[in-house]
Structures are given as structure tokens and as C-alpha cells.
Amino acid sequence: MAFKIIVLAKQVPDTRNVGNDAMKADGTVNRSALPAIFNPDDLNALEQALQIKEKNPGSEIIILTMGPPRAADIIRESLYRNADKGYLITDRRFAGADTLATSYVISKAIEKIGKYDIILSGRQAIDGDTAQVGPQTAEKLNIPQITYAEEITSITKDKITVKRRLERGVEEVECTLPVLLTVHGSAKACRPKNAKLFMKYKHAKTPTELQTLDDDYLGQEIKNKAFLNIEEISLDDLDCDLVKIGLAGSPTKVKTIQNVVHTAKDSMKLEDNDDDIKSLMGELINNHTLG
């Protein structure tokens, strides 16, 4: 049985490797100092999709991402790993969206893409850590959700069995299709890029990228090959209620943002010698900090 799988993926700033240059002097985030990467949990989700495709020949993997034009990288990265097709939802009018407005637009794009069996996404993105867009997209599409998925143990035409990773254990659940799964970071890591697929797809471009391509010959070559064309979805392509998108459609408003600055405490400095450590331990015992 062949399945149609949609993978939701996001390009995120790599907040895990924040250096001293991550914040500007005025306290705002210096985005240019952080590399843009494939959100880690979304790669775990892609791997689950690839495994379904391997076991079920004829299955199709569609990558759906939302972001600025450069987020097309996410689609290419997925094509290099054997995804079949990608859509980039991009439009300035979607900017400033919180999770509610984002999930609304994603659900509209999914409706446009058409029938599907499974939607997979990472559990959460490392820039916001909210874990909300997956469940909210499922609600908008009126389908069940399985969050914290670690492994798809079986899938047939009417039933999927999934192992979930919870705080203190595991749970195995089954569900009818279609369903949305959010995949936990503990799931199997995604396979590396495939060299052949890299050669095949390295020139895959969105219409926006084609416009700025200097090489006319290459541009024509890309246009002639359907598989090298990454589709863009803008507001005009979707049947969206304008009050539900972007900043206007976002009930959460950012009131203030503060840079985290620790004011240095007047700390006692000790050295690694017997006198210092002996008196420290003596004091901790005497003041009953240590029993």
C-alpha cells in the first residue's frame, strides 16, 4: 500500500550554539550570527517518513515549510534525502504569525495540496520550543494527533501503530488514518544526504530564486525539468480569512523583550587548596547547609 505523507519542517536559527556575538549591543538578537538550520526534530520526522516510503513502495513524501525565501534550503535538504516534492509557503503578509495563525495557514496549504494519509512534524522547533503548531494544525484539519512519537511500529491502510516517548516511560497507541504525528527528538536520527540525489536536485529552485539567477542558460534548464521546480505558495494561492493570518491573526502579543543579563554577584573566590576547601566545608556543616 502506498501512502501520501506530508512532512512539516522549519528552518530555524541554531539557538543551541549561541556564542557571545548572539546578542547585539542594543540587546536584540543578532540573527546573522546564528546559522540557519533544519529544525532537529523535523529531521527525525523526515526519517520516519523515509522509512514508511522504503517499506511501502510508491509512497510519496511532500515537504511543506513556511518562512522567508531562503527557507527553500529545507526543501532541497529533504530532496537530497529522498523526499519527492516540496512546497514553500512564503509571503510577507504571513509575517508576525504566532502558532495559531501559523497553523491556520499551514492547514490551508495542506487542504490545497490535497488528500493525504499521514502528516509528520517534529515535536517542537528550537527557536520557540512551543510544540504547539503540530496539535493546532491537526485540530484545524479535524484529524487525530499523536504527539511525542518515537517510532512508527506498523502501518496499514486503515491503522497506524506508534510508540510514544513520555517523560517517564513509553506508550504504544494505534490510530486510524489520516493522522498527524509530532516526532520526538529521541526518534531515530535522519539519514545523511545521498550523493546521487544531491547531484540530481542541487539546482532545484523556487520561482523567486530563479528570478535572481544570473545564469540564463541554467535558468532555462531548470524550468524545463519539473522536478527542479520548488513550488511557492503565497496568500493569493490560499483561501484564507485575512483576519486569521500574520500579526493580525495572532492573539498573543509580545509586550516586552529583555536581554538576559546576569548582574555579577559579589562572590567569594576560593582556590583549590586544603585551607580554602577545609574552611568552606566546615562552614557549610556549621550553618547546617550540609547535614
Partner: protein
């Protein structure tokens, strides 16, 4: 009356710690807003849970009982919770940031088209003026949370939509008993009519929940190791020391990612938040995402090779030296002097 409502999670025959902590926070918010505190219990055989909720000052307890409601599954719980929210019309809804809360809350917020802020580290009542429309809003919930990997702290408000929803991790709020015999009104929900219309799409086949082995949030003394510990063996040494002084052992995200310690020991923004009497940070540089989870400890001792390590900025006592040399000395002088 628009009240403050807390979804109480049930695990292993008790109300989850995070839910009790949220009831305590909710009680304070309700006092400030001069409204009532409401608690929601959804599950089976709920009678034993009343007494775990009442002491924290719940004025109203909504109870929805059915054997199909335990263990938690998404669609039945959301259907019941929606029904309760419709009855209650709360102004604020608080949910634990657990695998259950983070499954339920976004789905509900999507149905109600209201704002939801994940993993708040503080909740405060305050006013807000919209920058564009100049509209003023009184007594909103400031939902304060770290963002961007913990490098910034954002204050979020939901001025237009109700309820204002937030999730909070375990250990962030303090539990405080109001009165053991607090008088709570019980409202039972007629679940049958709701569940008849629910899609029971997800079925639980098997469940293995292990009792909690590590209790970091309840520990008075924590010895926490970082990437600087260098290996699993290093952590074993640190564990011996922790045992000597009666401490629980924690780990930074870098140490967990490197495989030196398990996830259940992770302290920090993406792990647990702790506030022990004494926190000993060993080989931890002090990234903001770590300090966000421990800076409220009563006393902090850092042991680091680098006198300029950021952790020293929040430490009460900074020991400069190799942990391999400092820790044995600490153990030795503890044994000598504690007798």
C-alpha cells in the same frame, strides 16, 4: 464571573506535582483578581483526588468521571475540557507543560482561537496598552518565558481573546497549602452525552510508566555536572561525592547530549527548574539556558578551571580549579568535620 482555572493532571494515582504548583500560583492570581480558583479533574475513580486538590484553595472542582477517560487520550479529554471551559468561561487557564499538557493545551487553544504561551517561567497580573490602537487593557496575564534558546525573556499578553492560556513546567512555581479543610464546591460533568459524540480514534495498546527515580525538584542539595566532567566515569565519581554529602545529582544539557548522564537529570530551561538550598555546579560554564533552571537556588557554589566562566557571575562561592582535585578535597574535609 470569570475565574482562574487549572487543569489537574492525574498520574500514578495522584495529582501531578506541576498541577498542584499551578493551583498555588492560580490561588494567588485569583486573590489578586478577586475571583475564584477552579480545578478540573478528568479521569476515573476521582473521589480520592479531591483531598489532593482542596488544600491548595480550589473554590470549585469540576469532575468528569468515566473509565474511558484514563489514561489520557487527546480527543476525549479535549471534548470534556472544552465543555467545562464553555460552562466556566474562565479568564485564565493554566496547564502543566508535560506530555499531556502540551498535547491538550494547543488543541484547545486552536478550537477556542485563543492565545497560548508555552513554558512560562513567571505569571504576573498587569495592564497593557496596544502600541497601535492605544487601547488600554486592565489586569491582563503577563506570560513571561525565555525565548530563543533562553537568550531573551519575552513578556507575552493576549489582550483580545479569552481565556488567556499558559503552560508551565514542573518545579517553576512553589506549592503552598492554603487550608487542609478548604471548602470546595464540586461540580460533576455529565460525560456520557459528550463522549457519545467523541471520536475514540486513538487506542492505547500498552503503557509502561516507570516510577520516578530521580527527584531533582525535591532535592535540598544538588551536585550538577557539566560537559567539563568529561565522561560517564567522571559522573560516577561525582555521584559518589553527591552520596557522601546527601545530594541528588544533576547534569547540564551539554553533559546529557554528550551521553554522560540521562535526560531525567537535566537541569535548565529544557530540563527541570530547581531551587535547592545548595547547588554545586561542577565543570559547568553557565550558559543562560542552564542558569535559567537553577539561578534561584539559595546558595550556589561553582567549581571551574576558568575563573571567567559565566557561572561565576551568579555563584556565591567560586572555586577556581580542576574538579578532579577539588571534589576529593571537599569529600575528605566533609567526612573529617561532619563527625
Amino acid at each position: 464571573m470569570n475565574n482562574v482555572l487549572v487543569y489537574c493532571e492525574i498520574e500514578e494515582q495522584k495529582v501531578a506535582d506541576v498541577s498542584v504548583e499551578l493551583l498555588s500560583k492560580g490561588r494567588k492570581l485569583a486573590d489578586e483578581l478577586k475571583c475564584k480558583l477552579e480545578a478540573v479533574l478528568i479521569g476515573e475513580n476521582l473521589d480520592v483526588f479531591d483531598k489532593m486538590v482542596k488544600p491548595y484553595g480550589a473554590d470549585i472542582i469540576y469532575k468528569a468521571e468515566d473509565k474511558r477517560l484514563y489514561p489520557y487520550t487527546t480527543l476525549p479529554h479535549t471534548a470534556i475540557f472544552e465543555n467545562i471551559l464553555e460552562k466556566s468561561q474562565p479568564q485564565i487557564v493554566l496547564v502543566g507543560a508535560t506530555s499531556i499538557g502540551r498535547d491538550l493545551a494547543p488543541r484547545i487553544a486552536s478550537t477556542l482561537k485563543c492565545g497560548l504561551t508555552a513554558d512560562c517561567t513567571d505569571l504576573v497580573i498587569g495592564d497593557y496598552t496596544d502600541a497601535k490602537s492605544k487601547t488600554e487593557y486592565k489586569n491582563l496575564l503577563y506570560q513571561i518565558r525565555p525565548a530563543f534558546g533562553g537568550n531573551i525573556v519575552a513578556t507575552i499578553v493576549n489582550p483580545e481573546t479569552k481565556p488567556q492560556m499558559a503552560t508551565v513546567r514542573e518545579g517553576v512555581m512553589k506549592r503552598e497549602i492554603v487550608a487542609d479543610d478548604y471548602n470546595s464546591e464540586i461540580i460533576s460533568i455529565d460525560v456520557k452525552n459528550i463522549l457519545d459524540k467523541v471520536n475514540f480514534a486513538v487506542k492505547i495498546i500498552e503503557r509502561h510508566i516507570e516510577p520516578r527515580k530521580v527527584n531533582l525538584t525535591g532535592a535540598q542539595i544538588i551536585v550538577c555536572g557539566g560537559f567539563g566532567i568529561g565522561s560517564k566515569d567522571g559522573f560516577a565519581q561525582l555521584k559518589d561525592f553527591a552520596k557522601t554529602i546527601g545530594a541528588e545529582i544533576g547534569a547540564s544539557r551539554a553533559a546529557v547530549d554528550a551521553g554522560f548522564a540521562g535526560h531525567e537529570r537535566q537541569v535548565g530551561q529544557t530540563g527541570v527548574t530547581v531551587r535547592p538550598k545548595l547547588y554545586i555546579a561542577v565543570g559547568i560554564s553557565g550558559a543562560i539556558q542552564h542558569t535559567a533552571g537553577m539561578e534561584e537556588s539559595s546558595q550556589i557554589i561553582s567549581i571551574n578551571n576558568d575563573p571567567e566562566a559565566p557561572i561565576n557571575q551568579i555563584a556565591d562561592i567560586a572555586i577556581t580549579g580542576d574538579w578532579n582535585s577539588v571534589i576529593p578535597k571537599m569529600a575528605k574535609y566533609y567526612r573529617e568535620q561532619s563527625k
